[in-house]
C-alpha cells in the first residue's frame, strides 16, 4: 500500500510559521515595536500577500513596516491590492521585497506604476475590476498572508471596523478559511467593542499600531466648486434621463457633475414634481452633498461601499436611511456594494477623462496607469439580469418579444477637460498604454456597448437607441462640441438624430441655459451642508473655510 497523501500541507505550513514567531507573541497579540520581526518571521519569499489598501482606508502601519523587512528573507512577494495609494506600496518593489502586483486602482501612484512596469521593477498580473479582484481571492489568487486594518480590537482578537469596513471582511475570509495568515493592525485595544465586525476566530495576529490608519475623505465635494455648466448638465440629466426613465435606484460617481445633481433634487427636481418618483434607493458612499436630498425626504435608503470622514454623527442620527449597527455606527461593505451596483440598480452615472469615437471611455492617460475604482463594475450591464423596473424595461427594444432591458450607464463629461484637452478623441490613450505596458487588455474603464447615455454641455446622446455603429458615432459627434470628433458632426445628421430622439439638445428638453444658476443649488457652501445636517455633519479640516 502506498503511503497516505497529506491533505493538510497548507495547515501544517501555517502552523510552522506561527510556531516560528511564537517568541514574539502573547496569544494573538504582538508588540508594536516587534512588527517588522513578526513580518520577517511570517512572510515567505513568493507569498501572495494582500496588503489592505482600500479606496479610503489604508493599513499604513503594516505597509510602512513591510518596507523595513529584510529583503534577504522576504522577497519576490506577489502583492494583491485593491488600491495602490501610498508611496511605500511601491517602495517595496524598489527594495526587492515584492516583484508582482495584481490591482484595481492606482490613481494616487499612477506615474510610478507606469515607470515601474516600463523598467521591469514590477510585473503586473492583471488590472482588475473590484469584483474580479475580490472574486479571485477565492479562486486562483488565494492569499498566504493578509495585512489588514481595524479600528478597535478586544482582548480576544475580535475586530470592530465600523464605518470603514470596506473590503476588510472579504480579504480576511479569503485567508482565514484557506490556511492563510491574518495579520491585523489595530488603532486601539479595548475591553469591550461597540460591535463585532470580524470574529476573532478568523484572526491570527493583532498588532497595536503606533498611530491610526490613514483615512482619506475621498467623496467630499465642496459645493462652492460646482460650476453653472455642471448645473446645466445636471438639469438636462434630471429631465432627460432620471425622469424620462423613472430611475429609482442608482449610484453616482465621485465628480462634481453628480454632486450638482444631488443638490438640484430638492430644488429643480421638486419644481418638476419628481419627489418620490425618482432617486429613492442609493448605493453610494455617504457623500455630504446628498444631505439636502435626504433631509427633504427624497431618499429612502443608502448602502455604502465605505465611510466618509465627518459624516459619522449624521449617519448615526439617520438609521432609517443608512446601514447602521445596534451600536449606532454605520457598516460599509465594498464587495456587496459592487454586487448591488451590478445587479440591483437601475442606473450608474459617472465621469471620465476620455471618450473615443465609438463611445469607449477611460481615465488611463499617457504616462499614468491609474487603473479604475468602482466604475467598471458599476458601469457595466450584467447581461443575465431580468428586472421588472420601469427603468430597465424602458430600454427594451419594442420589436422583439424576447428582448431584454438594460441597465442605464451614463457618462457625464464636459467636452474639454480641465487641462483644456478634448475629452472626445478618436483613440483613447489607453490603446497606447496597453502596448507600452504590455497589458493583455486595453485599459478601458467603461465599454461602448455598456454605455447607454452620454451627457455633455451640448446635449444628451441616447446611445442605446442607435441601430448601428455609424449612427452611434454620429450621435456622439453631435454632442462632442468643438473637439476634433465633434467638428465632424453635420447639421443635417444632427437634425435627423434629434427627430429620432437619439440626440436631445437643452431646448429639446425644455431646459433653458439661462436658468442654470448656482442659486439653484440646495447648498452652495460647506456651511450650507452643515446647516442642512442640523450641525451633525463635521467637515474635515481641509474643507473648512476660516474666512
Amino acid at each position: 500500500m502506498t503511503e497516505e497523501k497529506n491533505w493538510h500541507t497548507h495547515r501544517d505550513a501555517k502552523n510552522a510559521r506561527l510556531a516560528s514567531a511564537s517568541s514574539l507573541l502573547n496569544g494573538k497579540f504582538a508588540k508594536t515595536k516587534d512588527v517588522v520581526e513578526v513580518l520577517n518571521a511570517l512572510i515567505k519569499p513568493g507569498d501572495k500577500v494582500v496588503l489592505e489598501g482600500d479606496n479610503q482606508k489604508q493599513a499604513s502601519f503594516l505597509s510602512e513596516a513591510l518596507t523595513k523587512v529584510d529583503p534577504e528573507r522576504v522577497h519576490d512577494l506577489h502583492m494583491i491590492m485593491s488600491s495602490i495609494s501610498r508611496p511605500e506600496h511601491l517602495d517595496i518593489f524598489d527594495l526587492g521585497i515584492a516583484s508582482k502586483m495584481d490591482f484595481s486602482f492606482a490613481g494616487p501612484q499612477s506615474t510610478r506604476v507606469s515607470q515601474m512596469i516600463a523598467d521591469g521593477t514590477m510585473t503586473v498580473g492583471d488590472i482588475h475590476t473590484y469584483l474580479e479582484l475580490f472574486g479571485r481571492l477565492f479562486i486562483d489568487l488565494i492569499p498566504n498572508v493578509v495585512l489588514v486594518a481595524a479600528d478597535k480590537v478586544d482582548h480576544e482578537g475580535n475586530l470592530y471596523t465600523g464605518f470603514n469596513t470596506e473590503e476588510t471582511p472579504t480579504i480576511v475570509e479569503a485567508a482565514a478559511f484557506h490556511d492563510g495568515i491574518v495579520i491585523v493592525q489595530a488603532n486601539e485595544v479595548v475591553d469591550k467593542l461597540p460591535r463585532v465586525d470580524i470574529p476573532s476566530d478568523w484572526v491570527d495576529i493583532v498588532i497595536p499600531a503606533d498611530k491610526p490608519y490613514q483615512l482619506e475623505p475621498l467623496f467630499t465635494r465642496d459645493p462652492q466648486a460646482i460650476t453653472e455648466l455642471q448645473i446645466l448638465m445636471g438639469m438636462m440629466a434630471i429631465k432627460g434621463i432620471y425622469a424620462k426613465h423613472h430611475v429609482q435606484t442608482l449610484n453616482h460617481g465621485v465628480g462634481f457633475n453628480t454632486s450638482a445633481i444631488e443638490l438640484l433634487l430638492p430644488t429643480y427636481g421638486e419644481q418638476l414634481g419628481l419627489k418620490g418618483k425618482i432617486c429613492r434607493n442609493w448605493e453610494l458612499n455617504p457623500t455630504p452633498t446628498l444631505i439636502p436630498a435626504i433631509e427633504s425626504g427624497w431618499v429612502q435608503s443608502v448602502h455604502s461601499f465605505g465611510g466618509e470622514v465627518g459624516m459619522e454623527k449624521y449617519i448615526a442620527a439617520r438609521p432609517d436611511i443608512f446601514f447602521v449597527g445596534k451600536d449606532g455606527t454605520m457598516r460599509s461593505n465594498r464587495a456587496l456594494g459592487q454586487v448591488a451596483g451590478q445587479y440591483a440598480l437601475d442606473m450608474f452615472v459617472g465621469s471620465t477623462l476620455q471618450i473615443d469615437q465609438w463611445g469607449n471611455s477611460s481615465t488611463v492617460t499617457n504616462g499614468r496607469l491609474s487603473g479604475f475604482g468602482g466604475a467598471p463594475n458599476m458601469g457595466s450591464n450584467p447581461t443575465g439580469r431580468r428586472h421588472s423596473t420601469p427603468a430597465w424595461q424602458s430600454l427594451k427594444p419594442d420589436d422583439d418579444p424576447l428582448a431584454k432591458g438594460q441597465k442605464l450607464v451614463v457618462q457625464m463629461v464636459e467636452t474639454f477637460g480641465s487641462n483644456k484637452k478634448p475629452v472626445f478623441v478618436d483613440h483613447l490613450d489607453a490603446e497606447k498604454v496597453r502596448k507600452e505596458a504590455k497589458l493583455a487588455n486595453v485599459p478601458i474603464m467603461i465599454y461602448s456597448e455598456d454605455t447607454t447615455h452620454i451627457v455633455t454641455e451640448e446635449g444628451i446622446a441616447y446611445l442605446y437607441k442607435t441601430d448601428s455603429m455609424e449612427e452611434k458615432k454620429a450621435a456622439i459627434e453631435a454632442i462632442a462640441g468643438v473637439t476634433p470628433v465633434g467638428l465632424r458632426s453635420n447639421p443635417k445628421e444632427v437634425k435627423r438624430l434629434r427627430e429620432k430622439g437619439i440626440v436631445a439638445l437643452p431646448e429639446d428638453l425644455g431646459v433653458r441655459r439661462e436658468d442654470a444658476k448656482r442659486s439653484l443649488l440646495a447648498a452652495q457652501t460647506m456651511d450650507d451642508l452643515v446647516e442642512w445636517s442640523h450641525g451633525l455633519y463635521n467637515p474635515p479640516a481641509k474643507f473648512r473655510s476660516w474666512s
Binding site: 506615474t111 515607470q115 487641462n419
Partner: protein
C-alpha cells in the same frame, strides 16, 4: 514633515541678486573657479556668470536651511538646478559642485558660438510638438523636442533656423504661444553630446556620496535613491530633455506636505500650484530664510 525642495535653472537671474549671500562663500567660490562674480545685468549676458551666480545663491540658501536643521525628503533641480539639488542631498561637496558647474558653463559656451538655441511652445501637448519637430528636423537643420515643463508647455532645441521653422508650424497648428528663448545653445538635446562627454570625464574624478534623500532625475523623470543614477543625471542631463512634468507627478506621489523653491524666481511653484492645493509653500526669492524657518516650524507642529 515631508518636504520637496525645488531648484530652478537659468532664466530668473537679475542684477543684485547676490546682495544677501554670504560674502565669505562668494570669495571662496571666486577662488575655486577663478571667476569674479559681478552680479550686474551686463555680466548676466554671460553663461558662466549666470550659472555660477545662481548656484551660489542656491547653495547659500541650502547652507542656511540645513544649519537650522531643515532637510529635504525630495529634491528636484531643473537643468542647472540639479547641482544644488545634489548638494542638498549631500551627494557632492561644496568645492566640487562649483568647479563642476564652472566647467559645465564654459563647455556650453564654447560648443555653439552662434546660430543655435532653444524655443518654447505653449498650448500643444508633447506628442503634438513631437510630430511637428519630426516634420522640420534634418541632419543639416536639426531641431529636437527638449524640456517638458508642464503638460502643455514644452521646449525645442537646435539650430535657430530649424527652431524658427518649427515655431511657425506650431502657431499654425494652434499653439497659444511659440517663441525663441534667450538661450545661446541647444541645451537638453543630443547636440550637447561633446560637452556631456567632457563633463563626465571630470565627474569620474570626483568623490561623490550616497544621497541622503530622494532625488528626481531630469533625464528619465524617475525618483532615484542610488548614486549611479544621480551621477549619470549630473553628467548627462544636457543631452536629455528635462522631464519636469513627470518629475513633479512622481514627487507628488511621494505625498510631500511642503515645498520650498530656491532662488531665483517662483516659476516652478506656480506650475506646482496648478497641480495640487495640498502643499504648504515657501519661495525663497520672496522671503528670508528666517521666515521659511518660522513657517516650517509652524507646519511641523500642526502636522503632529
Amino acid at each position: 514633515m515631508r518636504s520637496l525642495w525645488l531648484f530652478p535653472g537659468q532664466g530668473g537671474q537679475h542684477a543684485g541678486m547676490l546682495d544677501q549671500v554670504n560674502q565669505q562663500l562668494k570669495e571662496q567660490v571666486e577662488k575655486w573657479t577663478n571667476v569674479k562674480l559681478v552680479d550686474t545685468a551686463d555680466a548676466y549676458q554671460d553663461s558662466v556668470q549666470i550659472q555660477l551666480s545662481i548656484l551660489l545663491l542656491q547653495i547659500d540658501q541650502v547652507d542656511r536651511l540645513q544649519k537650522l536643521d531643515w532637510n529635504p525628503t525630495l529634491v528636484a533641480g531643473h537643468s542647472l538646478g540639479v547641482f544644488a539639488a545634489a548638494y542638498a542631498a549631500k551627494v557632492i561637496s561644496k568645492e566640487d559642485v562649483f568647479k563642476l558647474v564652472a566647467l559645465r558653463a564654459k563647455l556650453m559656451q564654447e560648443c555653439y558660438p552662434e546660430g543655435y538655441g532653444m524655443g518654447v511652445v505653449v498650448g500643444l501637448s508633447r506628442s503634438e510638438v513631437k510630430k511637428l519637430v519630426a516634420q522640420v528636423h534634418s541632419e543639416t537643420n536639426p531641431v529636437y523636442i527638449s524640456n517638458q515643463n508642464s503638460e502643455m508647455q514644452n521646449t525645442v532645441s537646435g539650430k535657430i533656423s530649424a527652431i524658427e521653422e518649427m515655431l511657425e508650424l506650431a502657431k499654425e497648428n494652434g499653439a497659444s504661444k511659440a517663441k525663441l528663448l534667450h538661450v545661446p545653445n541647444p541645451s537638453h538635446s543630443p547636440l550637447m553630446q561633446k560637452a556631456a562627454d567632457q563633463l563626465n570625464a571630470f565627474i569620474s574624478t570626483l568623490d561623490l556620496h550616497k544621497p541622503s534623500c530622494i532625488y528626481l532625475a531630469n533625464y528619465n523623470g524617475h525618483a532615484v535613491k542610488n548614486l549611479e543614477d544621480i551621477t549619470y543625471d549630473l553628467g548627462n542631463n544636457l543631452i536629455y530633455p528635462v522631464l519636469w512634468e513627470t518629475m513633479m507627478q512622481v514627487a507628488l506621489e511621494y505625498q510631500p506636505t511642503s515645498s520650498c523653491e530656491f532662488s531665483p524666481g517662483t516659476a516652478f511653484t506656480k506650475l506646482l500650484k496648478a497641480k495640487t492645493d495640498q502643499l504648504n509653500i515657501v519661495t525663497l526669492s520672496t522671503m528670508l530664510v528666517d521666515d521659511a524657518d518660522y513657517l516650517f516650524n509652524k507646519w511641523e507642529k500642526n502636522n503632529d
